[in-house]
Structures are given as C-alpha cells and as structure tokens.
C-alpha cells in the first residue's frame, strides 16, 4: 500500500516475468507478523484495508498524538503523562503485551502499524510537520517502551540489531574508576555485573548532554540500563530519514483522489496549541495599550513579565534575552512598534539617544519584523514566547533576568518576589513552594492567578459569563494578561458592550 522505497514497483502491477518461476518467488503480499508489542515501523504494511478503516485508524492515532503534545506543552512530568494517557491509549490505540494472552493482539498491532504509516503520509509534506510528527511519535514510543514488561522490552531491543559494540573486559578494567563514578548513583556493588556498550558519542547525544555516559576519544561508554534511551534515539533517527524519503515519494500519490483528501484533512487538524500565537485573539478591546500605560498594565502581567518590568525600572536596563522576551510579550498584548520603541527609549534612561539608536533600536524593530531577513519580515517578526519556550529554552545565565521565576528562581527569592508583588497569603505561598518542588511551574503560576482573581473568577462562574473552556490552565504569558485584564475590568467592559448593543 505505502511505499517508502522509490525503486520498488507496486507489487500489484509487478510483472512476474516467468510464470514457471512463480512458485519459487516470495509472495508479493506477506501477511505481517507482529512478534513484539512495539514496532520500529521499518516495513510498510502491504495488506488491504477499507477506506473507513484508513480514516478511522488515522484519526484515533492522531487523537493520541495531539494529547501527548498537549501534555508536553503543559509541562507534565513523565509519570503524569503516563497516567494521563493510560485511559486514552486503552480506548483509542490499545496495545497489549504478549503475556496478556489477549485474542486481539494481532488486530491491535496491525492498527498501530497501519495508522503510523497513514500519518507518515499525512505529515511528510513540510519540514515543520515532519519535525512535529517525529517529536510526538518519539514521545509515544518512549512512553510505550517505558511501560513495557522488562523481559519483552529486552527481547524487542535485541531484535533490533542495532550493532552496539560491547566494551571488552580489558577496556572496562582500564577505565574502571571512571565507569564506577557513573554507575555509582545506582546501588554499589552492581556495577561489576553491569555491561557497557561502546558507541560513537554522536549516536547518543541526549545521554552526552546529561553527562550520563563516560566519554573517551569520541566514544561513549553506555551502561546497559540506558539502552532504552539509545533505542529511542535510534527510533527518532530512522523515522526522520524515512519521513524524508516519504516526502520525496509523495508527489506520486497525487493520482489517487481517494486518499489525498483524507490525508490533507488529517494534517490540517493537527494544530499546535501554542505554535502560532494568534495576535488578533490576544488583543484586548478597549484597553489603552501605550508606552506610558505599561506601568499601569503591569499589574495584570504574569510574574515572569512583572519581574522583568520591575528590574527594568530598577536598573534602567535589561540583558538581551530578557529584552527579547519582554518585547515580544508587549507586542503580544498589542503594543505597536512605535509605542514599543518609545517605551524602551524611555526605560533605558541612563544612556544617550545615540547609544540607544545604535545598540537597541534594531533589535526591537527586528522583533516586530520591521527589519531583518526575508523570513523574519514576512512572518511579522517573532511570536511571543509561550510558557513552554520560556521554561525549556535558554535558561538564564549569570546576571540575566529572563525565564520563569517559578522555575529559575530559588525558593527564597521566589517567595520574596511574590511578597513584593503583594501575594502574602501563607497558603498560596506554601502551595507555590510545593508546586515548584514537584516541578509543576504551570500549576504555581495558575495558582497565583486564581488567588489574585479569586473574586472575579467566582463571579464569572456564577453568572456564566465565561465558560470553563475559557478558564482552563494558562500556558501562555499573553493569555495570562488577557484573562487577567478582562477579569479585572469586568464591569467596565460589560457596560461598554451593552452600550454598543443599545446603539446598534
């Protein structure tokens, strides 16, 4: 059905040259067998399925992937994600282990296999889609690998033949003390039995990044317990390559007008919650968004932006990334470029006009897409940073103030900052501390939001002004501002809209 290999002729149309040899030839259709629960998706499926199945299976898998992506945007930990996904997986994409003796093993695995390849077709067309697809498929693979039964997991990894060279006894002895340092945070005494693999470090970049392997002359010594990580990396790598091949073969699919509409539809429905932050939906009608009003508006800012604002007012300066994070946020709340330049010029009051124009003006304009490369200008500059981006990318270095206070401050400094912005309730502070310790930075931020807007939230809920969908967890600083502003200006806004109605 689906080809990832360009050279292969459609088996249906393949001409068997000599009918006398036919009995020795491999059958063109091989019923796929699924000896393992997991699948590296190396071989495309070849059997027939109905169009309904084609669409339904793809939609089911898509639902799972979208949910996984949402988990990562909400910054859920691995355990939370697993717990959250379990019922969904059972409903839409069940996959039982060999030992479960389920009668539906083959059917489940077939659905998993086929749906993966259908989505490959739907998401191979652009680089952006490919990257996202690889990311979520990798997440799904890792999730399943981790909850696999250890024996079956080992059997699966063995079956992959990933040519990982075991480190020889002699080699291990010569670097015994270094290896011991790595296995030391496990139980002592076990390291002797542990086996080590030796691979090029480039094959395990994530392990290198976390200093979880010993490196020597470009070789990484990987303890056997990190095999899952290596399998996941390998999975990602192969999927990326396969998707590129699919993308190249894709134009040949055009002739089929049964599948193309379904595939188009599938890829369109895969919308990222944060990727394109919509500036029109984020602007607040009726608000005075101008340079001189930022001080006033800043009481509706999330803590990360309040912090930047306070430091800007204290030092009359912010470092580069802090400036960028704040500029894009201001852009997101609807401050236009002229006003933004006025704002920064007035805020950097210790420097001359000349220095400002030389060193800073360009970056503000760049953020708005007023200057810069073609792609920057066409896209209207950069999008405001989401919580996901602020939390995970570019943590602040020495002397830098950007990032998320809930994540990048220590508890004492965070508490001090919260008290400084007027949050003194011991219960809230304790809750924030617990959230921080369990790495739930969103929860902490939303907790503070709910505390600050307690009265208003109760009111809109009672009066049914906002639906619960409009009050779900905040995952974007600009959403925080918008909601905060709307809630705090509830009365004024309503009268205004009523007036409009009456006039109309």
């Amino acid at each position: 059905m689906l080809r990832s290999d360009n050279n292969r002729i459609d088996p249906k149309r393949r001409n068997v040259l000599d009918h006398r040899k036919k009995q020795f030839a491999d059958p063109a259709y091989k019923e796929s067998s699924y000896p393992h629960r997991l699948n590296f998706y190396a071989v495309p499926p070849t059997a027939d399925i109905t169009l309904e199945q084609f669409e339904q299976w793809a939609i089911d898998r898509l639902r799972i992937l979208a949910e996984l992506e949402a988990c990562s945007f909400r910054n859920k930990s691995a355990q939370e994600t697993a717990a959250h996904m379990k019922p969904l997986l059972e409903k839409y994409l069940p996959l039982d282990s060999n030992s479960s003796a389920s009668s539906r093993l083959t059917a489940e695995r077939q659905k998993d296999h086929y749906s993966h390849f259908i989505l490959r077709l739907a998401f191979a067309s652009t680089e952006d889609l490919r990257r996202r697809f690889t990311r979520v498929e990798t997440m799904l693979f890792r999730l399943r690998l981790n909850d696999d039964i250890p024996r079956e997991r080992n059997a699966f990894i063995q079956s992959l033949n990933l040519d990982w060279e075991p480190a020889s006894e002699e080699e291990r002895r010569s670097i015994a003390s270094e290896l011991a340092a790595l296995s030391g945070f496990r139980k002592a005494g076990r390291d002797e039995e542990e086996s080590w693999f030796k691979v090029d470090w480039e094959r395990v970049p994530d392990l290198v990044e976390g200093r979880r392997v010993f490196l020597k002359a470009g070789k990484a010594y990987v303890p056997s317990r990190e095999q899952t990580s290596m399998a996941v990396t390998e999975f990602t790598k192969r999927l990326e390559r396969a998707l590129e091949l699919t993308a190249r073969a894709l134009p040949r699919l055009d002739e089929d007008d049964r599948l193309t509409p379904i595939l188009d539809h599938l890829s369109k429905n895969f919308i990222t919650p944060d990727a394109s932050y919509n500036s029109s939906s984020s602007s607040v009608p009726g608000a005075d968004i101008s340079a001189r009003n930022v001080d006033n508006l800043s009481q509706n800012f999330p803590l990360c932006m309040q912090n930047l604002h306070r430091l800007l007012r204290r030092d009359a300066h912010l470092k580069h990334v802090g400036r960028l994070q704040y500029t894009l946020f201001l852009k997101g709340i609807g401050l236009n470029l002229e006003e933004c330049l006025v704002f920064w010029r007035a805020s950097f009051n210790k420097i001359t006009d000349d220095t400002f124009n030389k060193e800073y003006r360009y970056y503000v304009r760049h953020a708005y897409g007023d200057v810069g490369g073609d792609s920057i200008r066409r896209g209207g500059g950069y999008s405001p940073y989401s919580c996901q981006k602020i939390l995970t990318e570019h943590p602040p270095g020495p002397g830098e103030a950007h990032g998320c206070p809930y994540r990048h401050f220590n508890v004492e400094n965070l508490t001090a900052l919260l008290q400084a912005v007027g949050i003194t309730d011991q219960g809230v502070l304790r809750g924030v501390k617990e959230d921080k310790e369990s790495q739930k930075f969103h929860m902490a931020c939303n907790r503070v939001f709910e505390y600050v807007h307690k009265k208003e939230i109760k009111r809109v809920k009672d009066e049914g002004i906002m639906t619960s969908a409009q009050l779900e967890t905040i995952v974007h600083p600009n959403e925080y501002f918008k909601r905060s502003y709307l809630l705090k200006n509830l009365g004024k806004d309503m009268t205004k809209s009523e007036n409009v109605k009456m006039e109309g």
Partner: protein, 474 residues
C-alpha cells in the same frame, strides 16, 4: 593585479553591480579550479604586490590614528592581515572549493551598517571587498548549500540551508562579574584573565580527550574574552542537536541572578567534572582565594554562607567573621573546615559539606560559557585577526602550550604594528611580508602551523589511495 583596490567604488558594491561581477568571477572560478596553477598565481602575487608598495609607504603612515580610522584599517588589511592563511583555514585545500565560496561573511561597517550573506569565490575577492568597504570587523558564518548571494533566487527557501561550521565557544569575562573583584564590565586585567586561563584549560582538555577533537584554536577576542574554533571535519558537519549535546555536557554553572546556587551536579561526580576539579583546585587556592579575595566584603561572604548546607555551622562562622572584620577569603575558607572539625554544629553532615565546597570551587572557577554561540550551526562569530575597534588589539590566536604566559594587555595593537613596520631595519628578503617585520609574526606563524595541520588531515584519502595504487603498478 597590481592595483585591484582602486577599481570599483563603494557605491557599486551596494547597488549590487558587484553581484554581476562576482558571478562572472564564479564562472571563471569554475574553470580555474580544474587547473591548479592559474588560481594559485594571484595568491602568490598578493603579498608581492603589497610588499612592493612598501618602500613608498613609510611617508604615508605618519601619525597613526584611532583603530577604527579608515586609513589605519586600510593599511592593516592591506599589509598585515594574513589573508592567505585565513583562506586556507576556511577552504581546507589550496585551490578554492565550495567550503570557501559558499561561506557566509558578515561585515560591520563604520556607519554601523551590518552586511550579511556576503560570500567570495576566492580569497582575493574577499580581500578586495574588505579593502573597499573597510569594515571595522567582520564575522564568519556557516557554509551553505548554495552561494549565500544567490539565496533569493532559490525556488523554495528551505533549499538554502547551513551545512557546516566550526564548533565555536565564547567565553566573556563580563559573565564573571558577580565573582571577580578586580574589574567589572568591559575592563580586564591580568588578575581576572586567570579566569580565562582556567576556562581554556578545562574546555580544551574535555574537547580533546572526551570528544577526540584535534584541531582546536583559541582566539583572543580583542578585549575581554576568548573564542574557540573546533575545526575537525566531522565537527564542522554536526547538526544543532549534537552541538547542543556538547554544550550541555560542558555547561555546569547555570541559573540567573536570582537562581541562588549556580552549581548543582550529580554525585558521584562525572569523570569530566572530577578531572575539571583537579585542574581547577590549585587555581582556586592561588587565583581565587588570595588574588581575587572574593569574600572580603560582608555581603559577598553572606553569599558564601548561603551556599553552605548547615545552618548551625553558618551561625558560628558568621559570628566569627563579624568579630574580625576584614578577614581574608583564604582564612574564611579555612575557617569552614576548622569550625566543622571543632564540632560547631551537631547536625553537621560531613559529606554534604564536602560536596558543597566542591560546588563552590566550581562556581568560582568553572568556565562560564556563552552557550548559545555553541548550540547553533548558523551562529556568526568574529574572525580571527580582526582588530577590536575599542582597544585596537588584534584578535590573535592563543598558543595553548604557552597558555599561562598569554597576557591580553601585551597583545599588539594595530597602531603599534604599523609603526613596527616603519621601524623595521632588517634585511628586506625576497617575498618578505610586512607582518614578518612585526610582533604579529609569532601569532601568524602559529595560525599557519595550525592551518597546515588541518589541511593535512583534510586531504581526500581517496585521492591518496589512487596515487598509491598507481605507484604500485609501475
């Protein structure tokens, strides 16, 4: 070839007329690259032409202006800049290849205009444009899939992608402002340069021993920092994910101004970290405790206390230090162990204290990298041998074998170099170049040795094998 400088004017170049000209050169360049000799000739002539100018020039030099003065820059680029070595360094072969031709250069002009996506088929054309525009500095970017000048003619923009660039590191002394006491911001002295010495030692050994990289060049950035260029072929082709992995592996000091403790590492220490500690510990004793004296002031010693784990111990330390103001950091550091042994705190966890002390050593000595530079394939970095417009110092390579002797304040300035040419009284050898008459010579020599070693490793092994087979037949 004698006066290539005078021909097109600056305005031509901005108007894009020069684009046509380069395309023409491109055509010829392709023809040239098949034949070794024609393309070699101009390169040999370049130094000759500049040295033939030499006799008439002393009168022109006269009083030497500021480092960003156009005349000073012109003379520097014309007579001192090692164009040929720079070309070979980026080209990895004697005859021009796409490694050089598709490489992005970015020029910063005196007007602060910033010209990106410049590229040059040959080293001569690069030199020519630099001499026309006289940029105060220029930066080196990645090698792209196509000529960066043609990027707008591509059908789909995704076909224009960065392919390869050296792995770069940037260390800047301003990132040490919260722990250095001698200077701040853009100022440096020989005392705080020891931070840089430590950083280079730690990073260099990790890159060589752990990752197996061979061709690593450290370059003084002209004022307060240093850059590293890792030039191995395999390294250049690494994607962002791998660069990020190396950056993460090497990054230890994390967290912003409000983050509190900046070093949080797993125990037992990773071999890279224990090796780094071994390197850094002696520096901590001499360069930090006695020279920087970081905890002499009360608020700074309070920061030291905030990094220690035991509140009982902290209380007695605070009492002791308050009773004798002005106690030196080395003594305060010794006090920690002394009081811990004397049993000042009942709840003391000796292991936690030792780990905290290790973390403190790391926080005060471990390299503070500007990590974004290393993570991205398409990051631009200032070229070696450019003049720093503020200080006038040349961005010279640092010889890591004599790392301890490197003094950033002794690096020659452009003005000094130009007067050295004038004052030079030696024999005018044939083909002698101006930089050989100056104190820039050891740096250029070092660069040349580095580039030659790199080119030797780059040689296509396939070609070599063919030659071997040939010789066996005969």
């Amino acid at each position: 070839m004698a006066e290539p400088v005078a021909l097109p004017t600056t305005t031509d170049c901005v108007n894009g007329e020069e684009k046509k000209e380069v395309k023409l050169e491109d055509l010829f360049g392709d023809v040239d690259s098949d034949d070794e000799f024609p393309s070699l000739r101009p390169k040999q002539q370049t130094p000759q032409s500049s040295s033939s100018d030499a006799p008439s020039s002393p009168t022109e030099i006269g009083p030497i202006g500021k480092a960003s003065d156009p005349e000073v820059l012109r003379m520097f680029y014309q007579r001192l800049f090692p164009w040929r070595h720079l070309f070979q360094w980026l080209n990895h072969a004697p005859t021009p290849t796409n490694d050089f031709a598709h490489r992005e250069f970015a020029l910063t002009l005196r007007s602060d205009a910033y010209l990106r996506y410049r590229s040059f088929p040959t080293s001569d054309l690069l030199r020519k444009e630099i001499l026309q525009l006289l940029p105060v500095r220029f930066e080196i970017g990645p090698v792209y899939t196509t000529n960066p000048r043609d990027r707008k003619q591509m059908k789909n923009s995704s076909a224009f992608k960065p392919l390869a660039k050296e792995l770069c590191f940037d260390i800047d002394l301003t990132d040490y402002d919260d722990i250095r006491t001698c200077c701040d911001q853009a100022n440096i002295c020989i005392k705080c340069w020891s931070f840089m010495t430590m950083a280079i030692k730690v990073i260099d050994v990790a890159l060589r021993e752990d990752f197996g990289f061979k061709h690593i060049m450290w370059v003084y950035s002209g004022r307060r920092g240093a850059h590293a260029w890792v030039c191995d072929k395999k390294t250049r082709a690494m994607d962002d994910q791998k660069r990020r992995a190396i950056a993460g592996y090497l990054e230890v000091v994390r967290g912003g101004a409000q983050g509190g403790k900046k070093v949080n590492v797993r125990r037992p220490l990773h071999p890279h970290l224990s090796r780094s500690l071994d390197i850094l510990a002696p520096h901590f004793q001499s360069d930090i405790l006695s020279i920087q004296d970081p905890w002499a002031l009360d608020d700074r010693s309070e920061h030291l206390l905030s990094l220690l784990p035991d509140s009982g111990l902290n209380a007695s330390l605070r009492a002791k230090w308050n009773s004798s103001p002005g106690r030196a950091s080395a003594q305060k550091w010794a006090d920690i162990d002394a009081l811990a042994k004397s049993g000042a705190s009942k709840s003391l966890d000796a292991k936690a204290l030792l780990e905290a002390k290790q973390d403190i050593v790391l926080e005060y000595t471990y390299p503070r990298l500007d990590i974004e530079v290393s993570k991205k394939l398409n990051h631009l970095l200032k070229s070696p041998f450019v003049v720093h417009p503020g200080t006038g110092r040349v961005c010279v390579p640092i010889d890591t074998r004599k790392l301890e002797n490197f003094d950033p304040l002794a690096v020659p300035t452009v003005q000094q170099l130009l007067s050295e040419i004038d004052e030079w009284k030696g024999e005018e050898g044939k083909g002698m170049q101006d930089w050989e008459k100056t104190s820039l010579k050891p740096y250029v020599d070092y660069f040349r040795t580095f580039v030659l070693a790199l080119m030797k490793d780059e040689k296509d092994p396939r070609v070599k094998r063919e030659r071997d087979e040939d010789s066996m037949e005969f």
